[in-house]
Symmetry: C2
Subunit: 224 residues, 2 copies
DNA sequence: TGTACATCAGTGAACGCGCGTTCACTGATGTAC
DNA sequence: TGTACATCAGTGAACGCGCGTTCACTGATGTAC
């Protein structure tokens, strides 16, 4: 049964709402995102938005899910473009950085301080995991160079990560990958949020070299 | 010339103001910190606060500087308690983590997403650097194990870090130290801000082991 | 195919809220002669 | 030491702001017979 005109209209408005909210967020940040302002931009009374969304929080959720999707898509593409594992991981982290630079408020929304009062619903878990899946996939069958001992209390959790993403990656590799992500998010937060002030000028190289060293903890085969 | 009674009273109120503002911040976070609420708690009309502070931003600055000082003091103590370099660095990062856990909103204020609209004045630079000085001091005379090539565009900045803190540390060590900090802030943000959701249960061990591996990039002499 | 009723997107007014900041004032403290 | 003036901490009322959300409404779209 084809969707009715009303249903199609509803979908169209909903996606326009998501778009406009995303554009507002990019300008004013998550905290200042306002139902009224978005409604104004849609040419609608603020009460109209409540036909599509039960609250401001739900509007935020719309933007969050959309942002996770867009980021994941970019990273998946970047990773997929390379068949050399090491290059693929690096392409992935650089894609994350590029997206973060292009959409700093969105980056902050996903990976910065939580928005006060907002509790992310279950809906946001799955789209969030797509990024991690993309970043870790090239590590299938790859082991760390160093000897890594995974603590007994961590093994199960770390195995669960690989299982959930349906990837064949050792606990040791997952452990090192998590540390790589921490370093990546740390470097990005430092440069985007302006901690460390202006001590490092050439942030491109700083990130590139740092990530290269982080990736070189893995024993990738020589690229052919 | 002894300070007048008025001057002493002013100091007392100013420090009480800082205290109360800090306590409010710990509860509601930086964004929701309100001049009126703090004033109420001080038993003062909101206009009274403006005798001490020109704006809400200046109130935030008061809290920020105070927080940097307190954090730095804790870390300095933790680092100073050990004369083994490796143990000292680890004591430092664990002190940071403990403080972050005890004061998550303060941590967010200093190292999370910037508060929208707030621009940190010059005054906050110096207290911020105390933490870095404490964390890096134990690395004097220590080199990384791995071969580290510091990119030409980064050398000057990295040397400046050591110079400014008046410490005798090689560019290579500063570079690796910066990556260690990035990893630390990354891990802390991940666990405090709840990204990665509940994939890792035993966060204590996760942080401890991750930081140990990060520190082991340095060739510390065997402790006697 | 045509009619009667049900659904629901969009309207416009209103509620109640707390905020940052300004201003003219008062009375106590400090300073200069 | 005593007096006259200047400073300035604390007061209370007011300004103007934008916000999230509710509610009773209208008219167009959809559904069942």
């Amino acid at each position: 049964m084809a969707p009715t005109a009303r249903a199609r209209a509803r979908q169209a408005v909903l996606s326009e709402l998501t778009d406009v909210a995303g554009r507002h967020l990019a300008e004013v940040g998550p905290v200042a995102l306002s139902v009224r302002a978005v409604a104004r931009d849609l040419g609608m009374p603020s009460s109209g938005v409540y036909r599509y969304v039960a609250s401001r929080d739900e509007l935020l959720t719309l933007v969050i899910v959309d942002a996770y999707d867009r980021l994941a898509r970019e990273v998946e593409e970047a990773v997929g473009r390379s068949d050399d594992g090491r290059a693929a991981v690096l392409a992935g982290v650089h894609a994350v950085r590029r997206w973060a630079h292009d959409h700093p408020h969105h980056y902050a929304l996903l990976y910065g301080t939580p928005v006060p009062g907002y509790v992310a619903p279950e809906t946001t878990i799955e789209p969030a995991s797509r990024l991690y899946a993309a970043l870790i996939r090239p590590l299938e069958g790859i082991e760390p160079i160093e000897a890594v001992v995974v603590a007994p209390t961590l093994v199960a959790d770390v195995v669960a990560v690989a299982d959930q993403l349906q990837l064949d990656i050792s606990p040791e590799s997952v452990t090192v990958a998590l540390e790589l992500w921490a370093t990546m998010f740390g470097m990005l937060s430092i440069e985007l949020f302006g901690h460390l002030r202006s001590t490092i000028g050439d942030l491109d190289t700083w990130f590139t070299d740092g990530m290269a060293r982080a990736v070189d903890r893995f024993a990738f085969p020589e690229p052919k």
